[in-house]
Point group: C2
Chain length 567, copies 2
């Protein structure tokens, strides 16, 4: 062991931040300990010991074309073939796990971690997050070149915002574990006889090994909550990244192992399971008896498979939904158009929260700029997107790259689904000529036509959205209800100046359990949520069985064991 930090030192260092996080999840006011501006990092920035932009880039480049060493046990070879959506090969190889050797090592690491208790575990988790934060510029490149996010988004969403979500999970995990005291004296009166007296001790115990199944588009943002919730509640975590987005989570695992070792714990509490091409190792791991918790973000098909088959585990899934925006009326038509254009363009609509269906009354809508027909609304939205992305540099900065061929195929096929209101344009990226960069498609559909339903009633992941003509606002709300109930939704948006329509939409979201953004016309977008304040998903409709983050996300990752004895 190196001259490591004691858990007492780590607790002293991080307790104020933990307390602020605990306060933030109670008040849900704005708070973040991790600056989102790139300039906050580096020698001249506010974050001590952090990598500058140049250092982060250099660190990323130094990783390329090499073996990513991790000193974890149970390695039987090397795997990895990441190619950036921006067209460059990463050429990094990661240790491939010998599962029968690796899983027992994870299990063996847990008793000492359990004994450390909730506060020490939280402090160690915060130290891991703090070190990740200091390397946000390195993570930004790792996230950019695996997800296809443009640099600024990769930096923010893949860096500080993901770290916020990780910290939020630590705070929930800590709060949940300390709801029950470590010990209690129990004295039951017995009338004239002596009272019955017991001394009781309560210990939060882990469930077992937790499996994180990472996704391609948001490896850290979607991965950190489950990873840190499980680690903070005493479990060991096996990280199985998406084969096309290994690097951000491999860096995470390396830092976690480094901190754990320095703090005197077994580094095997966190390990990587990189897989060979087409190996499908998640399916094998998910049903191992050692795996007692699974966090998953990805396709509905595999999420459903996990829920049905990984019966030995608590399974937390974020799958797919059909996000809907009801457009009834507005007092800020320009703001509406600009806001939605941005939502559609950001990361080429490759977010699980990007709107897909715009429900617009065929009779048009009332706006501060006068009544607008359905056709006008669609044309104006198309023009707003076009305007936003007319400059290639700005377009590249917003769109990023198309993450995989399936998304590209969906863009190319969208024109067959209906009348194209906005065609997708290929954008050149001068820095990365190999990148596939595409602007969004908007397709017009008539909600009354049964054959249109096949298109708008299933998820079309990527920059394809549907302007669905409906009979009325009430009709839109009915379709919204049916969509959320049957297909799920990560987000719902609505624009209306009518208290009655607002009430109908709210009631639909309350009854069908969907998160609602109303009348967003400024710098907040329906597809973005803020840690400590907004819930990501509801956990109550088919899009996801969990929300980030709440009590339910952490409460069943551990159990409380009571030992009682006569006082």
């Amino acid at each position: 062991m190196t001259a490591g930090l004691t858990t007492a030192q780590l607790t002293e260092k991080h307790r104020p931040t933990l307390d602020q996080a605990l306060d933030a999840i109670r008040t849900r006011a704005y708070w973040s300990p991790f600056p989102e501006h790139p300039k906050a990092y580096g020698a001249e920035g506010a974050v001590p010991g952090s990598l500058s932009a140049a250092e982060g880039r250099a660190a990323f480049e130094a990783l390329r074309g090499g073996r990513f060493e991790l000193d974890q046990p149970g390695t039987d070879g090397w795997a990895g073939a990441e190619v950036s959506p921006f067209g460059i090969e990463l050429g990094i190889e990661y240790p491939h796990p010998a599962v029968d050797e690796l899983l027992p090592a994870l299990r063996a690491a847990m008793p000492q971690w359990r004994e450390a208790g909730p506060e020490a575990r939280a402090a160690v988790c915060l130290e891991i997050l703090t070190r990740i934060n200091a390397r946000s510029h390195e993570f930004a490149h790792a996230v950019m070149h695996t997800s296809g996010q443009a640099f600024m988004m990769a930096f923010q969403a893949g860096g500080p915002h993901a770290q916020d979500r990780g910290l939020e999970a630590v705070a929930y995990a800590y709060a949940e574990q300390v709801r029950t005291p470590g010990s209690a004296d129990w004295s039951k009166p017995q009338g004239k006889r002596d009272p019955l007296e017991l001394r009781k001790e309560f210990t939060a115990v882990p469930r077992g090994v937790s499996l994180l199944i990472g996704c391609n588009t948001f490896p850290t943002w979607n991965g950190f909550p489950g990873l840190f919730a499980s680690l903070a509640t005493g479990n060991a975590v096996l990280v199985k990244p998406h084969p096309r987005a290994v690097l951000p989570l491999a860096l995470t695992v390396r830092i976690a192992r480094e901190v754990l070792r320095e703090a005197g714990f077994s580094p095997d509490l966190v390990a990587l399971a990189a897989e060979r091409d087409g190996e499908g190792i998640a399916k094998t791991l998910a049903v191992r008896p050692e795996i007692r918790i699974i966090d998953y973000t990805g396709s509905t098909a595999f999420g459903d498979w996990l829920e049905a088959n990984a019966r030995q585990a608590q399974v937390f899934t974020e799958k797919a939904g059909v996000n809907t925006v009801v457009i009834d009326s507005t007092d800020d038509y320009k703001g509406l158009l600009g806001n939605l254009a941005f939502s559609l363009s950001l990361y080429s609509g490759q977010m699980c929260t990007t709107p897909q269906n715009f429900l617009i009354p065929r009779g048009g809508i009332a706006t501060d700029a006068g009544p607008k027909s359905y056709d006008e609304v669609v044309a104006d939205l198309a023009a707003a997107v076009q305007g936003l992305l007319s400059d290639d540099a700005r377009a590249n900065g917003l769109l990023g790259a198309i993450v995989n061929d399936q998304v590209k195929e969906r863009i190319d096929a969208a024109g067959r689904l209906g009348e194209v209101a906005l065609a997708s344009r290929a954008v050149e990226n001068p820095d990365f000529p190999g990148a596939t960069v595409r602007t969004p498609v908007i397709v017009k559909l008539d909600g009354a036509k049964p054959d249109a339903e096949a298109a708008y009633f299933s998820e079309c992941f990527g920059p394809v959205s549907f302007a669905v003509a409906v009979d009325s606002a009430a009709d839109a709300v009915e379709l919204l209800r049916r969509t959320v109930r049957e297909k799920g939704a990560m987000t719902v948006g609505a624009y209306t100046t009518s208290p009655e329509v607002e009430r109908l939409v709210e009631e639909a979201c309350l009854e069908e359990c969907a998160q609602l953004s109303l009348n967003l016309t400024g710098g907040v977008f329906v597809n973005q949520t803020a840690a400590f304040s907004d819930f990501h998903g509801s956990g109550g409709n088919p899009a996801a069985n969990a929300a980030l983050c709440d009590g339910a996300f952490v409460a069943n990752r551990f159990r409380t064991v009571e030992v009682r004895r006569p006082a």
Copy 2:
């Protein structure tokens, strides 16, 4: 509507009790608002407006031989054929549900209940519990004559202790819902520009209809936590009692409906689903799409079926386990024997928490009365049980009646499993000549013999226990570990004066997730837990996937929906 209580009045009335309950689950000190002594009830007792012993008996008798009217919708006939384990026919018929009519009524009742909010819902639940409490003497007879519990136990466990567990669930449900504030103002700084500002509203929303599948032995004690946890979190609850233990839950449903109506809510938030003989209605209801939560206590086979098949619902199960007591050494041999004899005798061992396997080193144990050989320990335990039950009146008061023929068959078959150290004796019950009353059997088994494992390594529900000879304390701990891991356990007990053995047992319970009682020699028994302080089950071994009561028991019964709009 009658001149009902407003929710504001109910909140004022019950808020102090709720606050005390919230405090108790935080400190886990002794607390109960519901007196456990029968004399606290009636005109001269401490509980205002409560039924006396005579009034309770009369109320019960008045119900016999009649139709139990409930004004719930969707009734297509009558069902019910309860026969008391004490030998009398109840002759009560209950409404039989037309499910397709009843379930929509439950769903329709929910929006208003959701709107009432967590505090009003908690107050209404407390009013229901308070009215149930006032009728504890009536419930005692209902529980006695369905479960076979002797009167005093039926009164306490089926009355105040069950009410405590219900209140505990309400407290957890309330605390969980108010962790997120009703609203928040969010303001994110934007450097020199105006901050981004949002107004956010958070609403706890129900999952849907909750199904309670009651059990025969503890209809109220095991039923109230799920019922009240679901109701307090905004769900409607359909109560499906065990066909042999309908009355206690039918009374509960009637009182709940009465209170709900008086408080201005739809009584259809709680309804009964009594079934016809052999109908198996639970299997049909459990997979209905309306059912989003299930609480179940009963056999492992059906519990496993529910977990595997009711995929649309959150399923909370308490199944069966093999409860184990390690006997290594003691400094109060007499106390040990007396304590275990009582645990074996109470309700003829028909508790999910009753010890089944006593693991005793074949070389004997050290005690304050000198070393005792394995044979001596077993003989002394048998003698202690015999002594405790030598007087028929006392035996009847402790044992109650055998709940069903399967238990009786197990008693009669126990002698074939090994050497009988204590044979079961039939006890006459002068008050109820039709009752089957039997004392416990203790069978000696050699843990080293493979053929003995078939007996001690599966649950033998009822008054049958095994004195298993093991090689050493370490061997006992290994068998304990394997038993908990593979068969589950609701309770573990241990007697030892050795710090090393104590440590081994504790570590086994922490790692295998079982609740441990150490060295109980007085008036607290391994098979009893106290609400607000002890956890019933751990939710982390095969005996149960939930514990009563903790955050995990309530957190996923509702979801939080956020509505955000520009400030």
